[in-house]
């Protein structure tokens, strides 16, 4: 999914799931006032990142835990299953709300979906409030041994003993990727009543390398993501207790919570991703000589058409330099475009996810028609994607690219003390053969999506987003990104 699509999907989720979060008023009613009004609460299905492992089990577990908490507070609960069933019914009746050609949200359909679901749910299930919950990626502020976010403090290294935590931690200030539960209570017509975040877990740790104080980031084990119900209970307590318990009850719960939360072990560490294996260039060229390049898939930018042309040209040059015979883009387009039009798009209108089977069938058909008497051996599928760049010693590094965070004099460079990750763009280049098997994957870093703004001598600095209008505006980066993505396919200089 492209960044624009992710962004728009995220916006839609925010709009549909947390209807008024973006226009959150400065003053909400006090939790005591809200609590006094709550007799019946409808629990809305937990929203999760699309790539969360064991998503359905996590949803089921956490929704149930939330419903139990509400019921224990004497509130009558409309279970999440009711809204889920209604959403499915309306989604089916509308034929989904994603554009099958792009995977983007089809806004008029999404608006209609929202309108009907809200109206119907109000009609069928009268409630005082609707409780929305969502698992959100967060940034935990990490300073040496400890990372703090959304009500908890945990080791930045995943170590348990005090001495190990303190002396085994790097001298780094920055941010670690984390997950939190975000809970929002709205009236059935969308007026906000209450909102709170509760920390779930870190997604990565610092690890000191060697004796020179170098640092690397180690992800948590994939099977340790949202695998500890005690953490879920903690997040639910952090988000709901201020709403459901009166101050005396909260005070009483605090001591018990602290005791219980101390017993929660660190999330297990995983392995750093292995470096991509080098491709045997000679063997690759012997197997695949004549290649075509698909139209680059780019985020929705004001300059998308021009950037697409630029990358198509840069790829043609790069692949020719690598020794491939590149089919002219017009020849590929003449074959591909009718196939694509007939397919009606590769994205599922219900979920917005790519239907790999449909795309494979189309690619197979394209292979059969490409090249005439000189068949095409390979199709390269370029896409500009959002990646995480690592910040180390004032430099961001990702997919073969290195970018200084600060370009001024060393005196004012506060960026060297920051750690963590920043969003960046990369060119992702996949290649499929005539059997539509992926035989190559390379990524080349293009540019960061944030810039560092150094503060004064005493203050630190800040990161600010680069507006979409300024993405991919520097053509001098194109060839370098292609070079990085092709990697070992290019001949040694």
């Amino acid at each position: 999914m492209s960044h624009a699509r992710m962004l728009r999907s995220a916006k839609f989720v925010a709009a549909a799931v947390l209807a008024c979060a973006c226009a959150w008023p400065a003053e909400l009613p006090s939790p005591e006032t809200v609590r006094a009004q709550l007799r019946t609460v409808a629990v809305i299905p937990l929203a999760t990142p699309g790539d969360l492992p064991n998503r359905e089990q996590v949803q089921q577990r956490m929704e149930q835990a939330i419903e139990t908490r509400l019921a224990a507070a004497g509130i009558s609960v409309i279970p999440a299953a009711e809204m889920r069933a209604l959403r499915d019914k309306v989604r089916t009746a509308l034929g989904g709300y994603y554009d099958p050609r792009t995977g983007d949200v089809d806004q008029p359909r999404a608006d209609a979906f929202d309108e009907h679901v809200s109206s119907e749910f109000r009609r069928l299930h009268p409630a005082d409030a609707w409780l929305y919950s969502r698992i959100e990626p967060r940034r935990a502020l990490a300073e040496r041994a400890y990372a703090a976010w959304d009500g908890v403090r945990e080791s930045t290294t995943g170590k348990e003993g005090f001495l190990e935590k303190v002396f085994g931690a790097p001298a780094v200030i920055g941010a670690l990727d984390a997950l939190s539960l975000h809970v929002v209570l709205l009236t059935p017509n969308g007026e906000p009543l209450y909102g709170r975040y509760g920390a779930l877990q870190l997604l990565e740790y610092f690890e000191v390398t060697g004796t020179g104080g170098g640092t690397r980031y180690v992800p948590v084990a994939p099977d340790a993501i949202l695998a500890d119900p005690a953490r879920e209970q903690r997040a639910i307590a952090l988000t709901l207790e201020p709403l459901l318990l009166d101050p005396a009850q909260q005070e009483a719960a605090k001591a018990a919570n602290e005791q219980a939360w101390k017993q929660i072990p660190p999330v297990a560490k995983g392995q750093p991703p292995p470096p991509s294996p080098a491709v045997d260039r000679a063997a690759f060229l012997a197997a695949y000589r004549r290649v075509a390049v698909a139209i680059p898939d780019l985020p929705e930018l004001p300059t998308r058409a021009a950037v697409r042309d630029r990358y198509a040209a840069a790829l043609a040059v790069g692949l020719a330099q690598a020794g491939f015979v590149v089919v002219p883009p017009s020849e590929y387009a003449a074959v591909w475009e009718p196939i694509y039009a007939a397919s009606g798009g590769f994205y599922d209108p219900m979920t917005g996810e790519l239907r790999a089977d449909k795309r494979m069938a189309a690619l197979r058909e394209a292979f059969s028609k490409l090249g005439g008497e000189s068949p095409v051996d390979l199709v390269f599928l370029p896409q500009v994607v959002v990646r995480a760049a690592r910040i180390e010693s004032g430099k961001a590094r990702w997919d073969g690219a290195t970018q200084d965070l600060y370009k001024g004099g060393a005196l004012f460079d506060k960026s060297r003390s920051f750690g963590g990750t920043l969003p960046a763009l990369s060119l992702e280049l996949r290649a499929v053969d005539a059997e539509v098997r992926e035989v190559f994957l390379g990524r080349g870093g293009i540019e960061l999506l944030v810039r560092f703004k150094s503060g004064s001598l005493l203050s630190g600095g800040t990161f600010e987003d680069i507006p979409e209008a300024d993405w991919l505006t520097d053509p001098s980066r194109d060839a370098k990104a292609v070079e990085r993505a092709l990697g070992s396919l290019l001949a040694a200089p």
Binding site: L94, E191, D465, A469
Partner: protein
């Protein structure tokens, strides 16, 4: 130096700075202004109505004097609060909220004459050179446009504008958007008023602009950039009244109200739509009500009134008011079909079977291919009515 605007260079000389500093400041101003103009052009916040831009430009051109060293280029900017500002390179912006608030061309001329005076009198450079005031400045453009971004879409637009302001958080940026020093504001008021007189407009309209601004001043601190450093509005209203009174004995000037409303067209409804989307239905209702006094038979206005009421659910009678507004829209030509759909949904929620049926049936008659036609047909079956 040749590439710099004459007025900026001249102002630098007047400010008595050494040549190198003058050149540096003038270049800094020009560079930042060009950067902001470019960024605004791609920010998605320009209203984008070429005819309206041309009309506002024509009003500004009518205020020009032959000896003005610099002209302004007018653009209409989508914005939640009434505001207008000019950049030192001549690019000038008036917000949709300002145009929605004004009653006639004379009032618009008052606003533009004021901004033009800031440009011609080179207030940006003079303030840039004023170390005394520099320390107190903050990033007002971030307040104004960040607010706009948050209102109008949040996310990327808000972030684009925050970035815009971060890269040009200079003294003059604050001044241009949020107001110059009191002396410069007073000077611009006097100079703007003189332009109004010279162009034959009704000068009694000038204090009305500021009275309207005062009435629409938001309460929350930090959301009133237009007023942040302006002399007290009451003081300026009194000053304008005095200036207008001095002219009262002369012939009455023109207001050109009809021409103005013809030029802004449906801008108030676009503004209302955005305010509803931004969760400001009460302010949207103000825009709609003003529009309806001029065009009482506009279906879209009643539809938007229904939308605004539907977003005011904490107020008693919201549902009845929304149903009434949708119902009125339904009786007028050009009604958006969705007004009937939303009316039907409200009736259905309230258990009002017959009006729900009628609204849904009319919806399908108006838009049989609607995205949700299948769903509405299901509702009709449940309500015991045959779909059309």
């Amino acid at each position: 130096m040749a590439a710099l605007p004459v007025s900026v260079a001249a102002a630098a000389e007047e400010a008595g700075q050494p040549d190198a500093d003058q050149r540096k400041d003038a270049m800094e101003l020009r560079r930042d202004a060009d950067d902001i103009e470019k960024r605004l052009a791609t920010s998605g916040l320009l209203y984008g109505n070429v005819e309206l831009d041309a009309y506002v430009q024509s009003v500004a051109d009518g205020l020009r004097r032959p000896d003005d060293p610099q002209s302004i280029r007018m653009h209409v900017l989508s914005g939640p609060w009434p505001n207008a500002f000019v950049l030192p390179n001549g690019a000038s912006y008036v917000t949709t909220a300002m145009l929605d608030m004004l009653d006639n061309e004379a009032q618009l001329a008052c606003v533009l004459g004021h901004e033009m005076s800031h440009l011609v009198e080179r207030h940006a450079l003079l303030e840039l050179r004023s170390q005394r005031t520099r320390e107190g400045w903050t990033t007002a453009l971030a307040v104004l446009l960040g607010t706009a971004g948050a209102y109008y879409g949040g996310g990327q637009i808000g972030s684009a504008l925050a970035n815009l302001t971060a890269s040009a958080g200079q003294l003059w940026t604050k001044a241009a958007v949020s107001g110059y020093s009191r002396d410069h504001e007073r000077a611009a008021d006097r100079e703007g008023f003189a332009r109004l007189v010279a162009s034959g407009y009704d000068t009694a309209q000038a204090p009305i602009v500021f009275e309207q601004l005062l009435a629409r001043t938001p309460d929350a601190e930090g959301t009133r950039p237009y007023f942040a450093t302006h002399p007290r509005l009451e003081e300026r209203i009194a000053s304008f009244r005095e200036l207008a009174a001095e002219r009262a004995a002369g012939p009455a000037g023109r207001t050109d109200a009809e021409k103005y409303f013809s030029a802004i067209g449906d801008l108030p409804l676009d503004q209302a739509q955005r305010l509803v989307d931004a969760g400001e239905p009460a302010r949207a209702q103000l825009s709609i009500d003003r529009y309806l006094t001029r065009k009482p038979d506009n279906a879209r206005a009643y539809f938007l009134a229904g939308e605004a009421w539907r977003a005011r659910t904490l107020e008693a009678g919201w549902a009845e008011n929304a149903i009434t507004a949708y119902g009125r829209a339904a009786t007028l030509p050009g009604t958006p079909p969705v007004a009937l759909r939303n009316k039907g949904l409200l009736h259905r929620e309230r258990g009002e079977v017959q009006p729900a049926r009628e609204a849904f049936q009319r919806y399908l008659e108006l838009d049989p291919q609607a995205i949700d036609a299948g769903l509405v047909r299901l509702y009709l079956q449940e309500l015991g009515a045959a779909p059309p």
